[in-house]
């Protein structure tokens, strides 16, 4: 960074003018995301702890696995698949659940935390725009959390698969039924598809809303995030005796799945080639409307952060 000043050491003013180049925006975003990860270690420590706990339980349960596998082998192929895949699906759901909760709490606190501990004054002393800061904070629930969910789930499922195979082999049972029925690669692909469509794109406006409330509210962001939603639902019910708004919210929180996939019977049962419906998902106006609102929420959050100082 000293190239200019060594080239023209005599003329500081000249070097200052030419050195005032804009830092690469992607570089600013990268370091802003990195600092979020430094601050919020719960993002990976909490799911890691849950995963270790679950795996410990799973390993203990493997004591009965050879007997269980013998019973499974007597079933029809479709039931075999259900029975074998069940713990793997549960592992995936567990990681999704844990990380979803973490993402919600992260988003609610994202802009309140920096005002509460006054560190906003330090962050604002750096040449990082409010928009870059907002984007870096939005990247955590929308990009980093789904990516972590995928990595943790895949790692857990591998460990489960390896230990299960080992246990079967030591008891003289071939793990071939396990491997053929589990369909690990399609299952991983389905997980990825589900995370990208559901957790990333469909949930994005929820996180953007929470980030906006976090930037706006002076305190009790969690109340501001949820109470207006409930209030609108209640008022609508009282005044019009309808529940469109409640349905709308419910559809956002839980409803993405029926657009993403034709029938949800668990990730493992779905053959990716026949069951996923990316076309239907991409045609859904709810997706694009949601993303549009998400973008507006983030723009508003960036604007509001400009006015905000320590609480």
């Amino acid at each position: 960074m000293n190239t200019q000043s060594t080239a023209i050491p005599e003329s500081r003013i000249a070097s200052q003018v030419s050195a005032s180049v804009a830092p690469d925006p992607m570089r600013l975003l990268f370091w802003s995301v990195r600092r979020e990860l430094w601050e919020n270690r719960a993002l990976y420590i909490a799911p890691l702890a849950v995963a270790v706990l679950f795996l410990a339980g799973f390993l203990v349960s493997l004591v009965r696995y050879p007997a269980k596998m013998r019973a499974i082998q007597a079933l029809a192929p479709m039931q075999q698949r259900d029975a074998i895949a069940q713990p793997y699906e549960f592992a995936a759901m567990l990681m999704m659940g844990v990380l979803f909760v973490i993402a919600i709490f992260y988003s609610i606190d994202a802009f309140q935390g920096e005002r509460r501990d006054r560190s906003i004054l330090f962050w604002k002393s750096m040449p990082v725009s409010d928009l870059t800061t907002v984007l870096s904070k939005a990247a955590i629930p929308i990009v980093v959390v789904p990516a972590l969910t995928f990595v943790f789930t895949i790692a857990m499922q591998w460990i489960m698969l390896m230990f299960s195979s080992l246990v079967l082999l030591t008891s003289g049972i071939s793990p071939s039924t396990l491997w053929t029925q589990l369909q690990w690669i399609p299952m991983s692909f389905m997980l990825l598809y589900h995370l990208v469509t559901g957790h990333m794109l469909w949930y994005a406006p929820i996180y953007c809303w929470l980030l906006l409330v976090s930037a706006w509210a002076r305190r009790a962001a969690i109340l501001w995030a949820f109470v207006p939603m409930m209030a609108i639902g209640v008022i609508e019910k009282l005044v019009f005796n309808t529940s469109y708004f409640g349905g709308f919210v419910e559809n956002r929180v839980a409803g993405g799945a029926d657009i993403v996939e034709s029938s949800v019977r668990g990730l493992a049962q779905l053959s990716p080639m026949t069951h996923i419906t990316p076309g239907r998902f991409l045609e859904n106006p709810g997706l694009w409307g949601g993303l549009l609102f998400g973008g507006l929420f983030l723009a508003a959050a960036a604007r509001i952060r400009r006015y905000r100082g320590p609480m």
Partner: protein, 292 residues
Amino acid sequence: MACIEAQGLRKTFGATVALDNLDLKVDEGRILGLIGPNGAGKTTALNAILGLTPYDGRLNVLGRNPWTDRDQLMRDVCFMADVAVLPRWLKVSQALEYVAGIHPRFDRAKAEGFLSRTNIRHSHKVRELSKGMVTQLHLALIMAIDARLLVLDEPTLGLDILFRKQFYDSLLNDYFDRSRTILVTTHQVEEVQHVLTDLMFIDRGRIVFSCNMDDFESRYFEVTVRPEQLAAARALKPMQERQVFGRSVLLFSGIDRAQLAPLGEVRTPSIADLFVAVIEQQNANAAQGATR
């Protein structure tokens, strides 16, 4: 070239006027002390200069509008707020990495050099450091940034005497080089008196006094007047008269030192004494204006 230029700067919080059509011009290469009582508008003025608060009026810092261009302005401006604001979870090594990653004008080796003279280790977290050490860390980060304007808002608040002395020493010896500008507010006026090149008093949102320190030293004198000379001294119209240990101390403005010497012991007043005199004069004038 003017580093900071404000015209008619105005900011209100409800009915409270924090900045009342404040005009300000700070040239490059100065060390300006902005002195004022609590609630005078010091921090509001700094916040406006740093792009942390919106304002009415015209404000130009290094050729930029701070409110709309804060992020660009911060490439050339550093600031330290009244209390340590480094996040408590931050590790020293992370702080260095982050600023090196973000700031185009940060010299990491220089920051490491400053830190090596302290007891701060890279593995420390901010929460494990004493208040003085946090300030040292922040100062190490800031002094390694090749900025054109450094803003310090009560930088030594809550630090012990040793740290306070070191703070201004390193600021003068390792940082200031005549092409940078430093703007500092503090209540510890006695420790900045020999650091400043310029002085401004702010009261009720206005600049009520402004001079450079050379003028300060040649224009203002404080005389401990011998009792028999008191009438003669009063005839010269002092700004202020006060009693110290039963003797009259008179503060004069714009009267030649040679003329004052026969009256008693002459010395340069402290900034604090001049400040009190200026504010009293202001209040007296205001009261006169009100009764008229």
